[in-house]
C-alpha cells in the first residue's frame, strides 16, 4: 500500500486524481466517509472520472454520463469496466494498493 496524501485533500462527496507508480487513479471520498479508488480515465471517450458526480454506489462520467460501480469498477450502463484498487484510510492518511 502506498501513501498518497491526506484524506482531507478530497472534499466529501468528490474525487481527485492521483498519479501512483505511473498510473492515474481517481480516489473518491464518499459521503459516508469511506473511500474508493478506480482507474481515472473513462474507457468510453477518455473522460476524467474524478470530475464526475458520485453517490454511495456509482460515479457518473462528466462527459457522456455513463456510470461505473465505485466498488467493483463494473459499468452500470453497458461499457467496458474500469480497474478498481484497494484503498484505505489510516490516521487520516490515504493508502492505495496498485
Amino acid at each position: 500500500m502506498k501513501p498518497i496524501g491526506s484524506v482531507h485533500d478530497i472534499p466529501l462527496g468528490e474525487g481527485r486524481t492521483f498519479a501512483i507508480d505511473g498510473r492515474m487513479i481517481a480516489v473518491f471520498r464518499l459521503r459516508d466517509g469511506s473511500v474508493r479508488a478506480l482507474s481515472a480515465v473513462c474507457p468510453h471517450k477518455g473522460g476524467p472520472l474524478a470530475d464526475g458526480q458520485i453517490d454511495l454506489k456509482q460515479v457518473v462520467c462528466p462527459l457522456h454520463l455513463y456510470a461505473w460501480d465505485l466498488s467493483t469498477g463494473c459499468s452500470l450502463s453497458g461499457q467496458e469496466p474500469v480497474t478498481s484498487f484497494p484503498v484505505r484510510i489510516d490516521d487520516d492518511q490515504l493508502f492505495v494498493e496498485v
Binding site: 472534499p11 468528490e14 492515474m24 481517481a26 459521503r31 458526480q53 458520485i54 453517490d55 462528466p62 450502463s77
Partner: protein
C-alpha cells in the same frame, strides 16, 4: 403423479395459453388437440400470405419442435367431439379417449357463411370456386384457384373481406367487393370514415366496391359464373370468397353440457360457468356478454387463465387419479356453484378494444365509439377526402371514449393509450388529432429497418432497442438507461418511446419514475417542493436523508438547482452536489480541458475588452478562440488548473456558458445604426442580461431582442425573444428553440415599454423556474403547460401569483454573485487541481 392438462385447440389462443402456463412453471403433462394438421401459426398473417408479402414458413409461431422441446404432446388433425365432464375425458375424431385434470377449451371460430343460394353443392361442400378465408388450407386453395381464373367477388366488407380482396388482386385481374351494409367496416367505423376508406380502396387499389349489396345467389352450374344481388344486379366472376364474419366454435361445449350462448360462457377466472376445472379462452369464450374477435383481448385472457391454472391452491377435486375414467367418479365434486374464489388469484374484467392496423394497405385505427351517443359528447372530426384521410375523436367528461383514424395512423398509439388508461386530455383538443408544432409526421416504427439509427447522439439503432426489450426491459426509461438512447440531445425520445412500445407489442409498463423531478426522490416537482418547504430542507444531502433514502449521483444537480431557486441566499451549498462545470465555472470539453466565455452583454463589446481577451489568449496559449452563437468569444482548451489565472487576467464577469441557467441575450444593432430598426434592441438586451445574469433554472435560458420583425437576432426561436414592432411596441415570444428541436415561440404579450418587457421576462422566467421539470427546456414546458395558461398567470395575473413571482425573482437577482470572483482561495481543496495529469488523452484538433 403430475396433473394432466388437456387443451382443445391449437390456434393462437390455445398455444399462447400453453406458453403462459409454461412461463409460470406450470407442472403439467400437457396434451393439445388441433383440428388443423400443423403447428401453431399466426392467423392474422394469412392476409400477408394471400397477398404474397409473406411465405407460409414465416407465419408459424410454434413449429412442431417447440412442442417436443416443451414436453407437449400434440395431436394434429384430431377434432374433439365430446367432453365427459364427470369422467374427465375428451373423445377425439380418431376414436381416442384422453383423461384430464384440467381442461382448456380454445376452439376459436369458423367462417360464417350466410344462407346464399348456390354457395353449397349438396353433398359436396362448397360450390367449385367458392371459398372461405379462415385457415392456411383455405388460403392455399384460394391462391391455387385464383391463379387460374380472372374475376373475383368478395362477399363481406369487414376487415377480413378487405384483406381478402387486397390479397386476391395479386393472383387475378379484377376484384369486386360486395358489402351488405351501407359502408365498409361498419362495426368499427362510422359512415364518413367508411366512405373515406372506400374511396381509397377504389381509387388507389382499383377494387370495385358495392355497398348495400345483399348477395342472394351464386350463379353457375358446374363452376361459379357470377353473383346475383337482391336488387337483381349480376356481377360476373369465376371466384367467390365469403368473408361475412366468424362464429365461435361452440359445438363441442354445447353437446357436452357447458353453458353456451353466443360463445361458451366464462366467469372472471376464465372458467366455464359452474366448472372448476374447465377453462375457456379466445374467440370461443363469451365473457360478460362479450365475444372478442381480436388478438389483444386473447393475450389478456391467456394470462389470467394461466395464472389461475397454475395457482398452487387450485388443486383437482378430491378424485384419486387412478379412478379417473371410471364411470362413477364423484361428479358432485366437480361441478356445482361452490367454486371457491379464494383459490384463484387473477381475474379478467374484459378488454377495451382498440385496434391499429393496415387494412388492405390503408392505415386504420379504431377504438370505442365510432360516433357520439349523448348530447354532451364532444366530437372532433377532420376529413380530407382527397388524401383519403378521416379522423375523429369522441370525448366524454374529459376522457377519450372513441376514436377513428383512416389513412393516417400517426396519432394512433397516443390515442390508444389515452383510451385504455383514461388519461387526461390536452385542453387544445386538436392536439389529439394532429401534432401541433411538434416534430414532423411520425413514420411507422414497424416499417423501420432494424439497423436504422434512432439516437444520433449515442448511436443506438431500432434493433438495439428491440434487443433491450426482448432482453426483459419493459419500460421506456429502462431502455433509455440501458442503451443511452435519447440521453443526448433528447430529440429522439418520442421515437424511442414508440419503438419501445412497438417492441412490447403496443404497450409499455408505466414507469412511475417518469413523473419524478429527479430519479432519486420519488416525487413530482410540485410535491417535492412542498415537502422541501415543509421540512425546511436546505441542502441536497438533507433532501436525500429526509425524502429519498440513498443519495443518487444523477439526482444531485437537479436538486441543487431547485434548492438554490427556492432558498436563494439561505441555500446550503454542498459542492459535491454540483456538476463539474458548476464546481469550476467553466464548460468541460472532450479532452477534460475547459472553455471560458466572458460575459459580453447583448453581444456588444469594446476595443479595450477585445484587446484584453486577445492578450489573455496569447499569454496562456489558448488553443482556440471562437465566436459563439450567443454573440460572445469562447476561449477553448484551458486546463483546469489555469482557470483562476485566466479569470484574474481577464477580470471580466462570467458569461455562464456552462450552467443550466440564464445564458445570453442576443441582439441586433437596433435603432442606433440600423436603417430599419424600430426599437433600441441593444439597450434592452443589455438591460435584460444585466438584470438576469446567472439565474439558474431547470434548463438553460437563451434570450434575444431584435429591433424589428426582420428578426436578425433570431428572437422567434429563443426561450424568450423580444421583437420591436412599429409604434414603440414590443412583442414577447416564449418557448422557441432552434437547436436539436426547432420551434417558433408563442406570442406571450405585446407591451409598450422596455420596462414592461423586463418585468414580464422576470415573471415568465420565474414561473418556468418554479414549474418546469428538471432539464425541461421552455420549448417543451410552454406547450405542456399551455401558452394560454402561462399568459393568464404571467400577463393577466389570473391566479394572483404575479407579485410573488416578481418578489422571488428580485431575491434571486439580489443574491447574484459573480462566480469568477471565487479564485483567490479555492472553495474546496484541490478545486482546480487537474484530473488528468499523466496520460495524453484524445486531443481536440486545433486549427492553426
Amino acid at each position: 403423479m403430475r396433473q394432466r392438462l388437456v387443451v382443445i385447440g391449437n390456434g393462437m389462443a390455445g398455444a399462447r395459453t400453453v406458453e403462459e402456463i409454461l412461463a409460470r412453471n406450470g407442472d403439467f403433462d400437457i396434451t393439445m388437440f388441433g383440428d388443423e394438421p400443423y403447428g401453431n401459426y399466426n392467423r392474422i398473417m394469412l392476409s400477408n400470405v394471400l397477398a404474397g408479402i409473406e411465405d407460409e414458413s414465416g407465419i408459424f409461431l410454434n413449429d412442431l419442435s417447440w412442442y417436443a422441446e416443451n414436453g407437449v404432446t400434440l395431436h394434429t388433425g384430431v377434432r374433439i367431439n365430446r367432453i365427459d365432464r364427470y369422467a374427465r375425458m375428451v373423445y377425439g375424431s380418431d376414436g381416442s379417449a384422453t383423461g384430464y385434470d384440467k381442461l382448456v377449451i380454445a376452439t376459436g371460430s369458423s367462417a360464417f357463411v350466410p344462407p346464399i343460394k348456390g354457395a353449397h353443392v349438396p353433398g359436396r361442400g362448397y360450390h367449385q370456386g367458392v371459398f372461405v378465408f379462415r385457415t392456411l388450407d383455405d388460403t392455399r386453395a384460394m391462391i391455387r384457384y385464383a391463379r387460374e381464373h380472372s374475376r373475383a367477388v368478395v362477399i363481406g366488407g369487414g376487415l377480413l373481406g378487405l384483406e381478402a380482396a387486397r390479397g386476391l388482386q395479386n393472383h387475378l385481374g379484377h376484384v369486386t367487393l360486395v358489402h351488405a351494409a351501407g359502408h365498409l367496416m361498419n362495426t368499427q367505423l362510422n359512415a364518413a370514415a367508411g366512405r373515406t376508406l372506400q374511396t381509397t380502396i377504389e381509387q388507389k387499389l382499383g377494387i370495385d366496391v358495392v355497398v348495400n349489396g345483399m348477395t342472394t345467389e351464386i350463379l353457375g352450374k358446374h363452376a361459379v359464373a357470377g353473383v346475383k344481388l337482391a336488387d337483381g344486379t349480376v356481377i360476373d366472376c369465376d371466384v367467390v370468397v365469403v368473408a361475412a364474419g366468424i362464429r365461435p366454435n361452440t359445438e363441442v361445449a354445447a353437446v357436452s353440457g357447458l353453458v353456451v350462448e353466443r360463445g361458451i360462457v366464462v366467469d372472471d377466472y376464465m372458467r366455464a360457468q359452474d366448472e372448476e376445472d374447465i377453462y375457456v379462452v379466445g374467440e370461443c369464450a363469451q365473457h360478460r356478454g362479450q365475444v372478442y374477435g381480436l388478438v389483444a383481448p386473447l393475450w389478456e385472457q391467456a394470462k389470467v387463465l394461466a395464472t389461475n391454472v397454475c395457482a398452487p391452491n387450485v388443486s383437482a377435486p378430491n378424485v384419486s387419479p387412478t379412478n379417473v375414467g371410471g364411470p362413477n367418479v364423484g361428479g358432485t365434486n366437480v361441478s356445482g356453484p361452490n367454486v371457491s374464489e379464494t383459490n384463484v388469484g387473477a381475474t379478467y374484467h374484459g378488454s377495451q378494444v382498440a385496434t391499429k392496423l393496415k387494412v388492405a394497405g390503408v392505415d386504420v385505427a379504431s377504438m370505442g365509439l365510432s360516433a357520439p351517443e349523448r348530447d354532451d359528447d364532444e366530437l372532433l372530426e377532420f376529413a380530407e377526402p382527397k388524401r383519403g384521410i378521416y379522423k375523429n375523436v369522441i370525448v366524454r367528461d374529459g376522457r377519450l371514449v372513441g376514436a377513428t383514424l383512416v389513412g393516417d395512423n400517426g396519432k394512433a398509439l397516443a390515442l390508444i393509450k389515452a383510451f385504455e388508461k383514461g388519461l387526461p386530455l390536452p385542453d387544445n383538443r386538436a392536439e389529439l388529432l394532429f401534432d401541433l408544432g411538434g416534430p414532423a409526421t411520425e413514420e411507422s416504427v414497424a416499417d423501420m429497418p432494424d439497423d436504422e439509427q434512432v439516437c444520433n447522439c449515442n448511436g443506438v439503432s431500432k434493433g438495439d432497442l428491440k434487443a433491450c426489450v426482448d432482453g426483459g426491459c419493459k419500460t421506456v426509461s429502462g431502455c433509455m438507461d440501458a442503451t443511452r438512447a435519447g440521453k443526448g440531445c433528447g430529440t429522439c425520445k418520442p421515437l424511442v418511446q414508440r419503438i419501445v412500445e412497438w417492441a412490447n407489442g403496443g404497450s409499455v409498463e408505466e414507469d412511475p419514475a417518469a413523473s419524478y423531478y429527479v430519479p432519486g426522490v420519488p416525487m413530482p416537482k410540485s410535491e417535492l417542493m412542498a415537502a422541501i418547504r415543509q421540512h425546511e430542507l436546505k441542502s441536497v444531502s438533507s433532501v436525500f436523508a429526509t425524502l429519498g433514502g440513498d443519495e443518487d449521483a444523477k439526482s444531485k444537480m437537479g436538486l441543487a438547482s431547485l434548492l438554490k431557486m427556492m432558498w436563494g441566499a439561505d441555500y446550503i451549498d454542498e459542492r459535491d452536489a454540483r456538476f463539474i462545470n458548476d464546481r469550476v465555472h467553466a464548460n468541460i470539453q472532450r479532452d477534460g480541458t475547459f472553455s471560458v466565455v466572458p460575459q459580453m452583454k447583448g453581444g456588444v463589446t469594446t476595443p479595450a475588452d477585445l484587446k484584453r481577451i486577445a492578450e489573455v489568449a496569447e499569454r496562456h496559449g489558448v488553443p482556440m478562440v471562437k465566436l459563439t452563437g450567443g454573440q460572445r468569444i469562447d476561449l477553448l482548451g484551458i486546463p483546469k488548473e489555469k482557470l483562476p489565472q485566466v479569470w484574474a487576467d481577464l477580470d471580466m464577469p462570467s458569461g455562464y456558458a456552462y450552467a443550466k441557467s440564464f445564458r445570453t441575450v442576443k441582439t441586433c444593432v437596433g435603432s442606433d445604426f440600423c436603417r430599419f430598426g424600430v426599437g433600441d434592441s441593444t439597450a434592452l438586451g443589455i438591460a435584460l442580461e444585466e438584470r438576469y445574469q446567472g439565474i439558474e433554472g431547470p434548463g438553460k435560458m437563451k434570450l434575444a431582442v431584435t429591433g424589428c420583425p426582420r428578426n436578425c437576432a433570431e428572437a422567434y426561436v429563443k426561450d424568450l425573444g423580444v421583437v420591436a414592432i412599429d409604434g414603440g411596441k414590443w412583442e414577447l415570444y416564449v418557448g422557441g428553440a432552434a437547436g436539436a428541436h426547432v420551434r417558433k415561440g408563442d406570442l406571450l404579450a405585446t407591451v409598450s415599454s422596455p420596462e414592461e418587457v423586463i418585468v414580464l421576462t422576470g415573471r415568465f422566467l420565474q414561473y418556468y423556474r418554479e414549474s418546469g421539470n428538471w432539464l425541461e427546456r421552455t420549448y417543451a414546458w410552454v406547450p405542456r403547460v399551455g401558452i394560454e395558461h402561462i399568459r393568464a398567470v404571467v400577463v393577466d395575473d389570473a391566479e394572483g401569483k404575479a407579485a410573488a413571482l416578481d418578489a422571488a425573482m428580485d431575491a434571486a437577482v439580489g443574491a447574484y454573485k459573480d462566480p469568477w470572483k471565487e479564485r483567490a482561495e479555492p472553495a474546496t481543496p484541490g478545486q482546480f487541481r487537474t484530473s488528468l495529469p499523466l496520460t495524453v488523452l484524445p486531443q481536440v484538433p486545433v486549427r492553426a
